[in-house]
Amino acid sequence: MSASRDWRGLLFALPFLALYSLILIFPLLRGVWLSLNQVDLFGDGHFVAFGNYARLLHDPVFATSLVNTFEVTLMIVPPLTVIALLLALALNRAGKGAAVVRGVFFSSAVLSVTIVTLIWRFILAPDAGLLGEAWKAVGWQPLPFLSDQHLVLPALALTTIWWSLGFPMLLFLAGLQQIPEDMYEAAALDNASRWTTFRRIILPSLRRTVVLVVMLQTAAQLQLFGQSQLLTAGGPSGASRTAVLFLFEAAFGRWELGYASAAAEILFLIILAVTLTQYWATGRATGAAGGG
């Protein structure tokens, strides 16, 4: 075979590469460049090297927004994964009933964040909301979910879980369908209880799906923005300000584009690190489980 490479093949990939460069690579590099400059919306700005990054390190508002982001992500991802898995297990059956319920649970995922936050505002409002009424019916004082510093992140998490349940459930359902029927039959003949079948047969078969769901949801929830912006605008007193909300406010509230870009780069690196760590950790777990 000839060692020379036929570069004409590249022509086929060119339209994609051009578009990809234009709308992804270029903005990414432009963002990095912006983060090294002090820029506002008007005028050219000037180069400050790592000035923006140094400022961010000492910005308590940014630090709080990062902590909030991690907290809310931790409140969302584990319960979301477990609930989606349980739903998938319950709905992994033939029949119209299950199909309808699957549709109902998925329907929230197609709503836009504005609708979702509108719905949850009605539910969470202490004076006339659904939860408030329920609390009152039991004889308790209604809780001010959206105006209490300690309740606002759980309220955001609850809203997000409700909104995001559909897609992970679908992934788990797809994973469950991959398990052949005779696997369950073999387990039945092996005298395995329902719990043993779940723990030793179903869960190991879904391991890849679990990893996928956790990684996708972690990356998504670290960028949580709309719910916080629309439900509380980051309040009360910054208790629900997430990292993306912080950089949104910096960029489009105070027009500090360079500063916001620097925050975005840091968030990008954090998400990359978290995701890679998860990937690496689960890869190691697989290796340790034997075989390979």
């Binding site: 052949p180 005779d182 696997m183 039959e185 073999a186 387990a187 039945a188 003949l189 092996d190 005298n191 395995a192 209880s193 043993t196 030793r200 047969i201 190991p204 078969s205 391991r207 489980a289 034997g290 075989g291």
Partner: protein, 361 residues
């Protein structure tokens, strides 16, 4: 005491009946083959015995205990699945241990049984591998091992050889036959391959159309098929069937075929039904004659199999017949040949399809 006993098993899927009043008794340590085409109900019957399906009515008893009311894992039955159904994330050893752990068998006992089974099946080097790291044949051994370690009262094998290539299938067939000698349990194998059933089984249960068609040792099934279905399903190529008219003299039946040929059978005349009969004749009892005697036939197809040649021909009344010839036969497509039908090996079938055979067959 009987090993397995089935009484009055019926099963429908929705409005479609799949099993109709099945009664069956297995002897101790008997190797039984359920033989039948797809859709004959043989797999459903196996699954009812295993507890993976529930019969609409009827009872299943194993060694004096009624088991159809028990969950699959408590029936004292082990099954080897057609696609093996090994747990993909477990090693061979873990696959074999899983059922024993669930049954709370002590750890050293589990290890002893796995070691014994690995010894018998020669899979000791595979014990720490996962199914994905094994060949099809190796997986099947592990699947058999998983059944063996349970020390069941009854083994169920669902099409055990169907996923293996031809060479491996023959070898595994021999090994299954050897395995049968070593286990102290009855075995039921579902198969649609008559060679498997003939070579392995003590008795064959031929199933078709929701019912048991015939129960008997392999040679009995072959030489005294109960009806036309069994006659045509068992034996390859299939038995030739020709419309025949009974001639009225002699102790044994003589019949006249559509082209005028008279065949003197050894089937006793007494007990034959009146009405249209059919003559059944296996290819090995129909020879292409080298001289000019015998029935005229026109050759439609020649299959040279090496150890013999099969000649598919048409009699002068257009009835198809299959004959055998020497390995180095000179018969060609379109030839006019003479064939000799060995009446002593012929069978007769009544209008209802029931078979009649020579008394000493």
């Amino acid at each position: 005491m009987a090993s397995l006993q089935l009484t009055g098993i019926r099963k429908s899927f929705g409005a479609t009946p799949v099993l109709d009043d099945i009664d069956l008794t297995l002897e101790q340590r008997e190797f039984i083959a359920f033989l039948g085409p797809s859709g004959s109900g043989k797999s459903t019957l196996l699954r009812i015995i295993a507890g993976l399906e529930t019969a609409d009515s009827g009872e299943v008893w194993l060694e004096g205990r009624r088991i159809d009311t028990l969950p699959p894992g408590e029936r004292g039955i082990a099954m080897v699945f057609q696609h093996y159904a090994l747990y993909p994330h477990m090693s061979a050893r873990e696959n074999m241990a899983f059922g024993l752990k669930n049954a709370r068998v002590p750890k050293d006992e589990i290890e002893r049984r796995i070691a014994d089974a690995a010894d018998v099946l020669e899979i000791a080097p595979l014990l720490d591998r996962k199914p994905a790291e094994m060949s099809g044949g190796q997986r099947q051994r592990v699947a058999i091992g998983r059944a063996l370690v349970k020390e069941p009262k009854l083994f169920l094998l669902d099409e055990p050889l169907s996923n293996l290539d031809a060479a491996l299938r023959l070898r595994t067939r021999v090994e299954l036959a050897q395995l049968k000698q070593k286990v102290d349990a009855a075995v039921i194998m579902v198969t649609h391959d008559q060679a498997e059933a003939m070579t392995l089984a003590d008795r064959i249960i031929v199933m078709n159309d929701r019912r048991i068609q015939q129960v008997g040792p392999p040679m009995e099934i072959y030489s005294q098929p109960a009806n036309i279905f069994v006659a045509q399903f068992v034996g390859s190529p299939a038995m030739t069937l020709l419309p025949a008219t009974l001639l009225d003299d002699g102790e044994f039946a003589s019949v006249k075929l559509g082209d005028g040929t008279v065949v003197h059978t050894k089937v006793p005349r007494d007990g034959l039904p009146s009405g249209e009969l059919r003559l059944g004749i296996r290819p090995e009892a129909v020879r292409v004659s080298s001289d000019k005697t015998g029935t005229k036939a026109k050759v439609e197809l020649v299959e040279r199999l090496g150890e013999r040649t099969l000649v598919y021909a048409q009699l002068s009344d257009d009835q198809p017949i299959t004959a055998e010839d020497d390995p180095y036969s000179h018969v060609r497509l379109g030839d006019e040949v003479r064939i000799a039908i060995d009446g002593a090996a012929a069978h007769l079938f009544g209008p209802d399809g029931a078979g009649y055979h020579r008394a000493d067959a």
